[in-house]
């Protein structure tokens, strides 16, 4: 198991390296993309562009540029934004990460708990009206775009019904760190959590239900019944346990994507200063170093989440463990 983990980590490092190379090439050397032109302002003279190229090291050979960029990103950590010269990129991302983590972790807890309950309930209640009702509910959740749902939530809690007893506790949009005021942190995040989790609750409940019903036909579930185990034990220890395998791999991917910046829409809608919002702002101003850094940050998170899933997968399913 240990060698498996180590092997997986080495692979992770290699994948991250590949991603940095690709991202570097895409943002700095795609034909038609010239960072110097962007920096030089309107109608620059060739001399200005040349000077800027020299100033930013853009006239040096590609591998050297790559190494310098990586050095600035990972070692000296003083990569600066193009649009705001005083702004250092890496501390920005480091500051934004806890916001994104707070948002995604909270939503993940909600969506895992609720989707397991919904999926199991639907599978157990198959043949009754509740199963299709739950699944239609899940489908509605999947079908609502998260930005629309977020704006609706804001409309209700910040505007229309803010003065009623239901939503008067909702603070204005923004964020308070957990370390500063846990209650305020919670109040700021609870509605974003719910909005973000709706889609995943729907997806996961449907996937889990389908897996449960499929596992129900497995021979070993029949064996478990023949052993004289109670229906509850058969469901929880035998059917659910093996059905969780695809649930967990799905979760790892989605979690990685969200922490890596996929919660962008929710962060923008609720004004949460996370990595998603940072990416959004840098995209609007085409601030290449920031975009580059957030993309690499996101990629690293996704790759790490993948590695964690693989290890968790081996823990759940002994068949994939190395012999």
């Amino acid at each position: 198991m240990l060698t498996f983990v180590i092997r997986r980590m080495i692979a992770t490092v290699f994948v991250v390296f590949t991603i940095t190379v690709l991202v570097f090439l895409i943002f700095f050397h795609t034909p038609g993309v010239d960072p110097a032109r962007k920096l030089a302002g309107r109608n620059p003279s060739p001399e200005t562009i040349k000077a800027i190229k020299h100033q930013y090291g853009l006239d040096r050979p590609l591998p050297v540029q790559y190494v310098i960029l990586m050095e600035k990103l990972f070692i000296t950590r003083d990569l600066t934004s193009y649009s705001n010269q005083g702004q250092k990129v890496v501390p920005e991302i480091v500051a934004a990460t806890p916001v994104t983590l707070s948002l995604v972790l909270g939503a993940a807890v909600i969506w895992v708990v609720v989707s397991i309950i919904m999926g199991v309930a639907a599978a157990v209640l198959r043949g009754t009206i509740f199963d299709p009702m739950l699944m239609v509910l899940a489908l509605i959740g999947i079908s609502m775009p998260v930005f629309w749902l977020g704006e609706m939530a804001n409309l209700i809690t910040q505007d229309r019904y803010h003065d009623t007893f239901l939503f008067s506790w909702v603070p204005p949009l923004g964020y308070t760190p957990l370390t500063q005021d846990p209650v305020m942190w919670f109040k700021h995040l609870v509605i974003p959590w719910l909005v973000l989790s709706v889609l995943y609750i729907g997806l996961y409940a449907r996937v889990l239900r389908a897996d449960l019903l499929e596992t129900e036909n497995e021979d070993y579930v029949r064996t478990a019944r023949a052993k004289g185990l109670s229906e509850r034990r058969v469901l929880l220890r035998h059917t659910l346990r093996t059905s969780m395998i695809s649930f967990v791999s799905l979760f790892g991917l989605d979690f990685g994507v969200l922490v890596g910046g996929g919660a962008l829409l929710v962060e923008v809608v609720f004004g949460l200063p996370g990595v998603g919002l940072l990416t959004y702002q840098s995209l609007i101003s085409l601030d290449l170093p920031v975009i580059m850094a957030t993309v690499i940050y996101g990629a690293i998170f996704i790759v790490i989440a993948n590695a964690v899933v693989d290890v968790g997968y081996a823990w759940l399913d002994p068949r994939v463990r190395p012999a």
Binding site: R222, A226, G228, E231, R233, R241, P318
Partner: protein, 338 residues
């Protein structure tokens, strides 16, 4: 073998309502199993033998299944018990081994844990006691070095070894009846013989009754005390194993016997096959359900459904309308059925 039989099945029928019509999977089956006895149930795929076994365990959970008849076990009708009460019977008093050992064990749990689970559910053993008992059981079913294997996962075992684990699990709570549903079908021939021998030995050791379901008459001849031959959901011949093999009465049984290759007889050109296909269980032919495939069918077979009763001199039961003399003559005339 005194007193009432351990397990008595009376006129058991199971049908499934489907979109195409009602499937009569089991149709008026009756048999008894005595303590310490091996009953073989033989038949081809779809003859209702597995459904019969699953029904004894009340494991047919299909909502479209319709049951009738009685399954008397130690004086109680299992068909009337609630699923909650059945939990005390399943695994404890009647246990079951399945056909495919490759898929019958849960892949994500260690084999020892899976046996422990049953012991703890029924015997109230502590984890330590359960583990000791599991080690004993694994040794008893011939798993070499049980201490080393108890914490292995099913995928680390071969098919034959997995079936041994299943047998250990089946016997873990000293059941009165062990139902083995084609326990050797998925195994290769040498392993088959070992597993059958193991079941036979353990049956004597644990003094359990065994219901052995198979499509292999050779297996039945080897281990069964009595045999029920099933065809299209009904028992067509039922009797003590020696009698049934010496003087089979039903043309279907002749066909089954004729389709076995035998090494102790001169080699025939081809093995005999029963012509045609088993009937659809949705629309069974009127009268005898074997009639369309039976070379000896006559007018009465179409009109009358033959009951399972003692018709021959040997006294075992069969469901064929031919007279004993006619049977003897017909059988003698078809060499491959002898």
């Amino acid at each position: 073998m005194s007193g009432a039989p351990l397990l008595e099945v009376r006129d058991l029928s199971v049908s499934f309502r489907t979109q195409d019509g009602t499937v009569h999977a089991v149709d008026g089956v009756s048999f008894t199993v005595n303590r310490g006895e091996v009953l073989g149930i033989v038949g081809e795929s779809g003859s209702g033998k597995s459904v019969t076994a699953m029904t004894l365990m009340r494991l047919v959970l299909d909502q479209n299944a319709v049951f009738s008849g009685e399954v008397l076990f130690k004086g109680r009708d299992l068909m009337q018990l609630s699923q909650g009460d059945m939990l005390q019977v399943r695994g404890k008093q009647i246990s079951m081994i399945f056909q495919d050992p490759m898929t019958s064990l849960n892949p994500v749990y260690r084999v020892g844990w899976q046996i422990d689970e049953q012991l703890r559910a029924h015997e109230g053993l502590s984890a330590k006691q359960a583990r000791r008992r599991t080690l004993e059981l694994l040794g008893a079913v011939g798993i070499p070095n049980p201490e080393a294997r108890i914490d292995d996962y099913p995928h680390q075992f071969s098919g034959g070894m997995r079936q041994r684990v299943m047998i250990a699990m089946g016997l873990s709570c000293n059941p009165d009846v062990l139902i083995a549903d084609e326990p050797t079908t998925a195994l290769d021939v040498t392993i088959q013989a070992q597993i059958l021998e193991l079941i036979g030995n353990l049956q004597r050791e644990f003094d359990s009754a065994v219901v052995l379901i198979t499509h292999d008459l050779g297996v039945v001849a080897e281990v069964a005390d009595r045999v029920a031959v099933m065809y299209a959901g009904r028992i067509v011949e039922y009797g003590e194993v020696g009698e049934l093999f010496r003087g089979p009465q039903h043309p279907y049984t002749w066909g089954l016997l004729g389709s076995i290759s035998r090494l102790d007889r001169p080699r025939q050109r081809r093995l005999a096959a029963i012509s045609g296909q088993p009937p659809s269980l949705i629309s069974l032919p009127a009268g005898c359900s074997f009639r369309p495939r039976c070379p000896f069918a006559f007018d009465r077979c179409r009109a009358e459904r033959p009951a399972l009763e003692a018709r021959s001199r040997s006294g075992h039961l069969d469901a064929c309308l031919l007279s004993p003399d006619q049977k003897q003559a017909r059988r003698a005339a078809t060499p491959e059925a002898s």
